[in-house]
Amino acid sequence: MIGKVTSRLKVGVALVAMVSQLTAGPAAAFCGFYVAKADSKLFNKSSKVVLTRDGNQTAITMASDYEGEPKEFAVVIPVPTFIERKQIGVVDTKTIDHLDAYTAPRLVEYTDEDPCRPMMAVASVRGVPRPMAMMVQRAGDRYAGVTVEASYDVAEYDVSILSANESNGLVNWLTDNGYKIPDGATAVLGSYIKQNMRFFVAKVNRERMQLIGNGYLRPLQVRYETAKFMLPLRLGTVNANGPQDLLVYALTRKGRVEAANYRTVKLPTGMDVPLYVKAEFGKFYKAMFDHAVERENMRAVFVEYAWDMGWCDPCAAEPLSNKELVELGARWIGDASGTPFRGGGAPAFVTRLHVRYDAKSFPEDIAFLETQDRENFQGRYVLRHPWQGGASCPAAQAYRAELPVKLAKQAANVVDLTGWPRREVEAQMENNGQAGMGR
């Protein structure tokens, strides 16, 4: 229940930039507003949304890398229907982390086999668990037509479901209740009101947060039935200072999810890259994503992963358990036990979409469609250690002769993928013991 708050809360708009890193990143995100005290430090590192859909049954789970004072956090999300208490919950942060790690773009490492004794590849896999790094920008008559349809206590959150007839009343209500709405949001709220959407607003309840004693905020989940398969992004773009990143993990029964109103593009994958990339895979992946975004004029939704949830190859993390999938809303699988999901009964498919957006490049909320494409796809980059052993057979001579060509190709791949200068890439290769071979 949103009562009178003693501190004035302000709405900040989350800005997300992505920085891939090899170490596991913190959990993360949201597709609405972030609210914080004017003087608080906000570090919403990225918006992460798990969008689970079976027919019209939809569950949205939002994780935030909010690092400000938990009690100053709040969110406003347009929802297409009235929400009952039982349709709201919190999800263990670890579950989203697990899904994130499972679907992460990966670096795969192979050692070339002895050219004289074919077969015997050794492979190891490394996920890029968490992108991100982020900053936040602050943005900046009363309740005519506003109805507080319900108020709920949901774990550490106070949640209200609002409906409104006109945006001014809604803005006043939000402002008076401690949400400071940025200029320009009124028009967007007005548009959602006319589309008969309601507003799910949540703030942190300090007492309950203390009682629970977590010290951090868990992802909120809302479940509802709707024909609208979309994510309301527009509120987050109001007054945003620069583009934001959003990761959508879509869990569906039939197949890959794609944007219905934007180009959906698979990221380049499967390329061999020089060994030095291992030490800076995060930097490489970020540069590659930036380059891909630039190539598409920031008007595309990128697929980072699309795979049957029952298995993975190579696995960046173990597949999720039945329990975790059900927790994320995939109730159709019909088994909530802690055993790993193998897809024996009802199948589940995950699509990891990465969007960089601002109001100009993504003027409209993203609408999605579930395709029946079950073809597996993963963002995967390959390191190949050359065979180091002594070998003198003719095949070994041929193998050595080919090495410079292969290394040149690896250098070209990195240049092509990231836009880094060729000279820089070659210098890095030289520093890493691949001297002169990249030319």
Binding site: G190, S191, Y262, N297, P363, T371
Partner: protein, 301 residues
């Protein structure tokens, strides 16, 4: 008189004024080009093939060579078989357009679904006929049937990127203007109605204009506009009839998309309203359309 005839006349007048060496060059060029512009379908085939080539070579819209080959081959073969069965002369231009349109629009888990689509499309032309005229645009009909059967197919949103979209729009408009006599006006009626409804919605919601502009930049909208609703064989005969039909399809599609959340709405709206063309033609009679000079009467092409 079809506009292509006008062009030929005008060009032949030019010849008389041109010096003889130029005349020869031009006549060779003309002889090469004449077969292409003598029929709007030739230019349409060139345009669609170019788009498909761009898809395979440069900017991926999601079409795949095996699926496209299945769609085109199945459409052509079905046309050939049906022509033989019905003892009508064979013309492969329209089925080729159908196959190319299906290649650009339809996506399926299995490439052979495109063959099924091609067969349904062309067979519908021969089987679903009223007064000797087919009822549905073949590609549109196949898409709706397969979507309703939820047979592992979906429609590409056709986000080709702004530059390809504008190039395609200009190309399709140019083809339409070159063959203005061929009932292409329905494409403009539809595009304007659709755009007007999107703009009206944006105005009502208080949304920025960038939203309707973005909504219009869909490749599948262009294919629909210039190859399906404007199919002269399945659109009303009179200009007023065409306007009414185009507006009705735009309005129904708008309702389905925004109030019923049905996507893709355009195809459903067109197929649902296609039978109404017979009613419109009865109220607003006009001579029936036939491609080019109807040398071969009654052939479903």
């Amino acid at each position: 008189m079809p506009i292509s005839h006008h062009i030929r006349l005008r060009v032949s007048r030019c010849f008389k004024r041109a010096p003889s060496y130029q005349r020869e060059e031009r006549s060779v060029l003309l002889r090469l080009l004449r077969p292409i512009w003598s029929d709007a379908r030739h230019l349409q085939i060139v345009a669609l093939t170019s788009l498909l080539t761009i898809n395979f070579a440069a900017i991926d819209f999601g079409a795949r060579p095996p699926a496209s080959a299945f769609a085109v081959a199945a459409s052509l073969i079905t046309q050939a078989i049906c022509a033989r069965l019905t003892k009508t002369p064979l013309d492969l231009r329209s089925p080729l357009i159908t196959g190319l349109s299906l290649s650009l629009l339809l996506r399926a888990e299995e490439p052979w679904m495109h063959a099924v689509a091609g067969v349904i499309a062309i067979a519908s032309k021969f089987l679903l006929r009223i007064d000797g005229k087919h009822v549905f645009n073949p590609a549109g009909f196949a898409i709706v049937v397969l979507l309703l059967c939820s047979a592992g197919v979906w429609i590409s949103p056709g986000q080709w990127g702004a530059s390809i979209w504008f190039a395609a729009l200009l190309g399709f408009l140019a083809i339409m203007v070159l063959h203005a006599a061929r009932r292409g006006d329905i494409a403009i009626y539809f595009l304007l109605s659709h755009a007007a409804l999107l703009c009206a919605r944006a105005a009502w919601l208080g949304d920025p204009w960038a939203i309707p502009v973005h909504q219009l930049q869909s490749g599948s909208l262009l294919i629909f506009t210039f190859f399906m609703i404007s199919d002269p064989r399945t659109s009303p005969g009179s200009p007023l009839g065409r306007f009414l039909f185009a507006f009705a399809v735009a309005a129904l599609a708008h309702y389905l998309a925004f109030f019923v959340q049905m996507r893709p709405a355009l195809y459903f709206a067109l197929i649902a309203l296609s039978p109404a063309t017979f009613l419109i033609d009865r109220i607003l009679p006009a001579p029936r359309f036939a491609w080019n000079v109807p040398a071969l009467k009654g052939a479903p092409r």
